[in-house]
């Protein structure tokens, strides 16, 4: 068992070794050891001597000059003493411009800003959120935008799967339940003009949707912080359940829910709080041919089968239910990996 313990410790040490190597450049062939100072054992002394391969990009030291670390501005083991055992060694070799490696050199941001940049710069670098192959759960609340007679507010839920970064397929549903609200405006019209406008309640709707995300961008808020957003369009087909509110002849008419085919289109804006949570604002139009109450009363047929068109208007009416949806968007899994470098 003593041997087993030793092997375990050795295995642990081997597991740790590659972590130190991750950030190191591959040693170029031909860069002989004579071009750089030999590496000194640093782990237990805190000395700043660099491994030979980390010095490949540094200018060769002048003949006779003392051996210096890659940073060039820290002299020997004493310089490393201010930051601890070997900690600065790695940082200064990886990023020689880091402030702690250029303590005497002030960075002039104005000068730095005037330096030429590489031509290959995209207007929006590396999208903030990778949506491809992630699920989106979107709870929201919808309010009616275009119906001053009856408001059809509803909680809703969208579930989307992003096949690619810009294309998703999913389902969404609204539950109007008892939130339909007949406005006072209808009563005022009926009383003043002696006319009644047919009204309908909604129960629920559900759609199969495709979402396309053609636009994305970022905003700087107050010139201080940056947040990311995207805009999408969606559309699909589904069903909606509606029924007329008996207005014309409420004493004799009562209606059951009708299941009607609908088409929906929407345009939305998503503002990301982080890489998996966003606020969503969407305007969606649910379009369908509605069955409404017949405005004419035929006294002798008041109790007849409504399917025959006595209670219902013989014609269906194209209806737009335009909603404003406000909600949250949660992406799962919550993390992702970029496949290309920034």
């Amino acid at each position: 068992m003593k041997q087993a313990r030793r092997w375990l410790l050795l295995a642990a040490a081997l597991v740790l070794l590659p972590q130190a190597a991750y950030a190191q450049k591959k040693k170029p062939k031909g860069s002989g050891a004579g071009a750089t100072p030999a590496a000194a054992p640093a782990a237990d002394t805190g000395a700043q001597a660099a491994p030979a391969d980390m010095d490949a990009d540094a200018p060769a030291p002048a003949p006779g000059a003392p051996a210096t670390p890659a940073g060039g501005d820290q002299a020997g083991p004493a310089a490393g003493g201010d930051t601890g055992a070997g900690g600065d060694m790695d940082i200064c070799q990886i990023t020689p411009d880091a402030p702690q490696c250029t303590a005497t050199k002030e960075i002039n941001l104005g000068v730095e800003a005037k330096k030429a940049v590489r031509a290959e710069v995209y207007a929006v670098q590396q999208q903030y959120v990778i949506k491809a192959q992630r699920f989106e759960i979107q709870p929201y609340f919808a309010v009616t935008l275009n119906d001053q007679f009856v408001s059809h507010d509803a909680p809703g839920l969208s579930l989307n799967y992003y096949i690619t970064q810009v294309l998703a397929v999913g389902l969404n549903g609204n539950w109007y339940g008892s939130l339909n609200q007949d406005s006072d405006f209808n009563f005022q019209n009926r009383r003043a003009a002696r006319i009644a406008v047919p009204l309908n309640d909604y129960q629920a709707s559900g759609d199969l949707n495709f979402t396309y995300v053609p636009m994305y961008g970022k905003f700087a808020g107050f010139g201080d912080f940056i947040f990311h957003y995207d805009a999408y369009i969606d559309g699909g087909v589904g069903v909606i359940r509606t029924k007329p509110i008996p207005v014309i002849d409420p004493d004799n008419r009562s209606f059951d829910w009708n299941t009607l085919v609908n088409f929906d289109v929407g345009i939305g804006l998503r503002i990301f709080f982080n890489r998996w949570l966003a606020a969503v604002l969407e305007v969606r139009d649910i379009m369908y041919f509605d069955k409404i109450e017949n405005t004419k009363i035929q006294p002798g047929l008041a109790a007849a089968d409504p399917v025959k068109g006595v209670w219902y208007d013989p014609n269906t009416h194209f209806t737009n239910d335009v909603q404003l949806q406000v909600g949250l968007s949660l992406f799962l899994p919550t993390s992702f990996d970029y496949t290309l470098p920034k």
Binding site: L16, Q148, Q188, F219, A220, G221, F222
Partner: protein, 292 residues
């Protein structure tokens, strides 16, 4: 022995985890102390607004109208004190007024009889349509917006860019505007009072001009395809009370919720009037400054 073996394994894992965590912390520290620490969020920003005048011809469309839709043609004139604050004026005149489906329906189906004589436009005699008289339109009694003038302050908190199809890139800002609006409206004139004509009289359905003072605010997006020209869209709210239908619907009974045979200020109801503006802007001087 088994216990010692387990302890050894756990100790090895603990060491491995501790060292791994240390590695991650080093990377974070590098980011926080890098050369960009303290640098502004955006550099070399094109200051499309700062120190520039903007004139933006605009067309406004009213939303969610009950009886009559209005299209306003106008303009916005702004002076941008900074890139995030502007003062100016927005205004427009009603160039088109379209009746809604409800108005057409009332016009077509509402009976012209003594019961509706004070509420629905008619001609000929007080209690109904005279034989042979031209049909009076209900649309003629519905209120309309004649003009809007609003001095306003514009605050531009967000500035960014937008990529479309990964091909088109356009600078964008989001603004919030607020001010006081002077709204010219035409609504049914007062009738039925002591010295006024009776509301059942056909002449009482004429419109009178009024000026309403109301708060106004809007939120919009401006897109800058070039340094000189911009375009955008804005949502504008204009809440105030007015009698849009010309009905006598309030003034007597409990809480004044019943008709009183008079048309006056009691019949005005609050409406959160909404508009959507589309504009094309031109900025002077034609070239913007660029930030450090």
């Amino acid at each position: 022995m088994t216990r010692r073996f387990v302890k050894s394994v756990l100790a090895s894992l603990a060491v491995a985890c501790a060292v791994s965590a240390t590695g991650a912390a080093n990377a974070q520290e590098l980011q926080l102390t890098g050369p960009l620490k303290g640098a502004p969020a955006v550099r070399h920003l094109r200051l499309y607004r700062q120190g520039r005048f903007e004139i933006a011809p605009a067309v406004s469309f009213s939303l969610l109208d009950e009886y009559r839709r209005t299209i306003l043609a106008g303009a916005r004139l702004n002076y941008n004190i900074t890139d995030w604050l502007a003062i100016g004026i927005w205004g427009g005149a009603g160039v088109a007024s379209l009746s809604t489906d409800l108005t057409d329906k009332i016009d077509a189906t509402a009976p012209r009889d003594p019961l509706t004589a004070i509420n629905v436009n008619h001609s000929g005699n007080p209690s109904g349509q005279a034989k042979g008289a031209p049909a009076a339109s209900f649309a003629d009694q519905t209120a309309k917006i004649s003009y809007v003038v609003s001095p306003q302050v514009t605050f531009i908190p967000f500035r960014g860019k937008l990529a479309i199809f990964n091909k088109i890139f356009v600078d964008t800002d989001l603004y919030i505007a607020g001010g006081v609006a002077f709204v010219g409206v035409q609504e049914r004139e007062d009738c039925g009072g002591a010295s006024e004509v009776k509301c059942s009289n056909p002449s009482s359905f004429a419109l009178q001009s009024l000026t309403k003072v109301a708060p106004t605010f809007g939120v919009g997006l401006t897109f800058y395809p070039s340094t000189f020209v911009s375009f955008g869209v804005e949502y504008r709210a204009l809440p105030f009370s007015w009698n849009r239908s010309g009905f006598d619907s309030r003034g007597s009974g409990p809480n004044g919720n019943f008709p009183d045979q008079q048309v006056n200020g009691d019949d005005e109801t609050f409406k959160f009037n909404m508009l959507v503006n589309v504009f094309l802007g031109f900025s002077f001087p034609t070239a913007p400054k660029i930030s450090e």
